[in-house]
Symmetry: C2
Subunit: 195 residues, 2 copies
DNA sequence: GAATAATGTTAATCTAGTTTAACTTCCTTT
DNA sequence: AAAGGAAGTTAAACTAGATTAACATTATTC
C-alpha cells in the first residue's frame, strides 16, 4: 500500500511516532475502484471515510425530481465520504462515485472509533480537518447567495483549476447550482469579453 | 457564572472528571452583551468562540454592494464565532451581533489551545461539534440548490420554530437568501392556501 | 472507420425571484 | 397621544437563470 501521501498529510497537523504510524496502518485499508464505480450510494450506510491517493470522485445527491446536484469533488490528498451518514451510521443522502480509476485509503467506522482510543491525537487531526471543511462550506453558502453564477464560476476556476480540467462541464454546472446550458452561455460570454 | 448549561452540553459528548471541569472553568470567561452589540466585526480578528447561555445572535456578512447576508443565528446552547477567523487568527469575514441582551461563555484563542493540551478529551468534543455543524452546512448548500424559496422557508420554520418567533422577518429572508419583499409574498401565498 | 453515445452549444420562451417605490402597521420615545 | 422610525406589505416592471428543443462536437466501441 502506498501510505506515504497519507502520513505526510497527517504530519502537517500532528506528529505521530513510528509506533503510532504502524498502528494506524494496521487499521486502515487500501482499495482501488474503477471509473464509474460507487463507494457509497444514496440509501446505503456510509461505512468508510476515504483519503484519495489518485483519481477523482464526485459526491452528489439526486432530488425528488430526479435531478443531480453535486455537493463536492475530491482529488489527490482530499477526503471524501457522506460524513452525515458515516458519523450517525444512518442511510446516506449522497452518492460517492469515481469519475476516474481511483485509489483510496479507507477508515471504516469501527476502525476509526478504535483508532481514536488507541491514538487520541487523531481526534485533533480530524478536528482540524473538519474545521477547515466547515469554514469552506460556510463560505460556499455565502457565495451562493451573494455572487452571480458567472462570479461563482470564475472563483471556482481560480480555486480549483485542477478539477476544471478533469471533470465534464455539466458536472461543474451542477456543482455551481446552475444548468449546463447556462454555464455554456457564461463561457461564451467570457470568450467574447476577452477578445 | 452560570456554567451548568455548558457542562451539561459537554457531558452529552465526553465525560469530564470534576478536576477537569474545574480546570475548564478557570480557563473560560462569562460575558454579557446588550442588544445591538457586536462580539466580532468584519475585519477584526475573532478572538473567541462563544457558547450562548441566553439571548440570540446573528452572524452576517456585508457584501461589496452593501447588502447583508445572514450566515447563521445562535440561541441558547448554541456556539457562535467567525470560525474561519478564529482558527486562522486572520481578519473576520463576518459580523457577530446580539439581537437581544445576551449572556455567553467564551473560549479565547490562546486559552483553547492550552485547554486542548491540558484536557485532550476536548479535542474529541470539538471534533464532534464541528462534524455536526459541517454536516448541517452541507445540507444547507444542497437545499439552496434543490429547493425553492418557499420550500426552504417551510423547512426553516419547521426546523427552527424558536428562531422564527424571535427574529425580524427581514433577517429570516436574508438567511434564506431572498429579499424581504419576496418572503412577504410567500407568506401571503401560504395564508391564502390555508384558507 | 462507421456508428453510437456522451458532452457541449445556441436560441426562443418562460419563471422564480429582484428592484423600486408607495403605503401600512407596529414600536419607541417623549 | 403625537411623532418618528423600524418592520412588513403590495404591486408593477424587470432580470438572472431555467426549460425546451434542435443541432454540433467529441469520445468510445465494435
Amino acid at each position: 500500500m502506498e501510505s506515504k501521501p497519507l502520513l505526510d498529510y497527517i504530519g502537517r497537523y500532528i506528529h505521530l511516532t513510528s509506533d503510532e504510524e504502524a498502528l494506524l496502518l494496521e487499521n486502515i485499508s487500501y482499495r482501488r475502484y474503477l471509473k464509474g464505480q460507487y463507494i457509497t450510494q444514496q440509501g446505503d450506510i456510509c461505512k468508510q471515510e476515504s483519503f484519495v491517493l489518485s483519481g477523482c470522485l464526485r459526491t452528489f445527491y439526486v432530488d425528488n425530481e430526479g435531478q443531480e446536484h453535486i455537493v463536492m469533488f475530491a482529488v489527490e490528498n482530499w477526503w471524501t465520504a457522506d460524513l452525515g451518514s458515516f458519523i450517525t451510521q444512518t442511510p446516506a443522502d449522497y452518492n460517492v462515485q469515481c469519475l476516474e480509476n481511483t485509489e483510496v485509503i479507507q477508515f471504516s467506522y469501527n476502525d476509526i472509533e478504535e483508532l481514536y482510543i488507541k491514538i487520541p491525537k487523531l481526534e485533533r487531526f480530524f478536528r482540524i480537518i473538519i474545521q477547515n471543511a466547515y469554514v469552506a462550506s460556510e463560505k460556499r453558502i455565502i457565495q451562493s447567495f451573494s455572487m452571480t453564477a458567472k462570479e461563482r464560476y470564475l472563483k471556482f476556476r481560480e480555486q480549483y483549476p485542477q478539477i476544471e480540467q478533469r471533470v465534464p462541464q455539466y458536472m461543474i454546472a451542477s456543482y455551481l447550482g446552475i444548468t449546463k446550458e447556462f454555464l455554456s452561455k457564461i463561457r461564451s460570454q467570457l470568450i467574447f469579453e476577452n477578445e
